[in-house]
């Protein structure tokens, strides 16, 4: 299949979205690992206004690279990937972080419920399984708090609403291309799926400690993060938005 001419060849169905901000050291490894797992997956690296050679490195690995002119934040970067998926007719899209903490060999666990038509958003959870995941105390508190809140909204037990390792169906792509939360998007996006009456599923996955870089969420920011997201969730509950329909 000729990757450079997506209009001529029959379109591939799955897109891997890799948001990357200053990840020149790890982005190449992540791309190669995805390739080793499945050579047919199309990959788009969204370079979120990096100061380093992230875009060049990614381009050298032969993937689609979209370079944002300046840093827009993780939410807008991932949404750029959804917009690409929407415009190019992908059936499902999965997000894999460029820092190497998501494991491509776990992808089938995310794809299976989507392709079976059981879900529109599948979240890879670090906690749903038996494996423990080490994290700082404040982060664990925050993650727990969000899990409880979102579980209450979704009326079912969820364990890891902050995970960035997640895949969406075409309906999810349509929704998120039109509207995706900005600063700390994962929790809010999960609630959006519920509010739009799309189906949500959580599957246990294995994750690695990040190979480079640090979490964008430091202890100092945790309080702001938690407050901001809880406020956003509260507002989200009072928002009645019709899910965007795809143009025929």
């Amino acid at each position: 299949m000729e990757r450079r001419a997506p209009a001529a060849a029959p379109l591939p169905r799955r897109l891997v979205i890799v948001p990357a901000f200053n990840e020149q050291d790890s982005v190449g490894g992540v791309i190669e690992e995805i390739r080793r797992f499945d050579t047919k997956l199309e990959i788009i690296v969204v370079d979120d206004g990096s100061d380093d050679r992230t875009a060049e490195v990614a381009r050298a690995h032969g993937v689609h690279v979209v370079s944002l002119p300046f840093n827009l934040g993780i939410g807008a970067a991932v949404q750029t990937g959804f917009r690409y998926a929407l415009a190019n007719g992908f059936d499902l899209a999965v997000q894999i972080d460029a820092d190497g903490q998501h494991v491509p060999s776990e992808l089938p666990k995310l794809f299976a419920p989507l392709e079976a038509g059981e879900a529109d958003l599948v979240i890879g959870s670090r906690f749903a399984g038996e494996r423990a995941f080490r994290s700082s105390f404040t982060r664990r508190i925050g993650i727990r708090l969000f899990a409880l809140t979102v579980s209450a909204i979704a009326r079912r037990r969820l364990t890891d609403t902050t995970s960035g390792f997640r895949a969406v169906s075409r309906r999810g792509i349509v929704l998120f291309a039109a509207d995706y939360p900005h600063d700390y998007p994962e929790v809010e996006a999960t609630v959006m799926i519920v509010k739009h009456r799309l189906r949500l599923k959580e599957v246990p996955v294995r994750m690695r400690e990040r190979t480079s870089g640090r979490s964008s969420i430091t202890a100092l920011r945790s309080f702001y993060y938690i407050t901001k997201v809880l406020l956003a969730l509260f507002v989200e509950l009072f928002r009645s938005r019709k899910a965007p329909q795809e143009d025929a």
């Binding site: 450079r4 001419a5 689609h64 979209v66 370079s67 002119p69 827009l72 750029t80 917009r83 690409y84």
Partner: protein
């Protein structure tokens, strides 16, 4: 009643402000939709400066008995808050539009680049 000298100075200041606003609109430094609120402000200030019984009358309506000018300060403060809120709304909308523009630009840029590469590699 407002002292005559205060009334005159206030009127001059209000007229200068209205003139400044007019000039800014004329030079297209201020959009009409944002200018309207400033024109109204200037007119209110001018009215209060010329109408020397105005402040006392308005305070009387509002039930302010002790210090009539407080009605003026309260009104100004409220007006400022509304204006700042308005600016926040405008800023939010602009930043949303900015994000969308940046995303569309980046997607287009990558399409152009890939198309050019495809053309070069086929010798076209």
């Amino acid at each position: 009643m407002t002292p005559l000298r205060v009334s005159i100075i206030g009127s001059i200041a209000a007229v200068i402000m209205l003139g400044l606003i007019f000039e800014l609109i004329r030079r297209r430094h201020l959009r009409e939709r944002y200018a309207l609120v400033w024109v109204v402000t200037g007119l209110v200030l001018l009215t209060l400066a010329i109408w020397r019984e105005g402040l006392n009358t308005l305070a009387g309506w509002a039930g302010v008995k002790t210090y009539p000018p407080s009605i003026f300060f309260a009104a100004i403060l409220f007006f400022m808050l509304v204006l700042v809120l308005h600016f926040s709304i405008v800023l939010s909308r602009l930043s949303d539009q900015n994000v969308t523009l940046a995303q569309k630009l980046a997607l287009l840029e990558s399409r152009v680049r890939e198309r050019e590469q495809a053309e070069n590699s086929t010798g076209g």
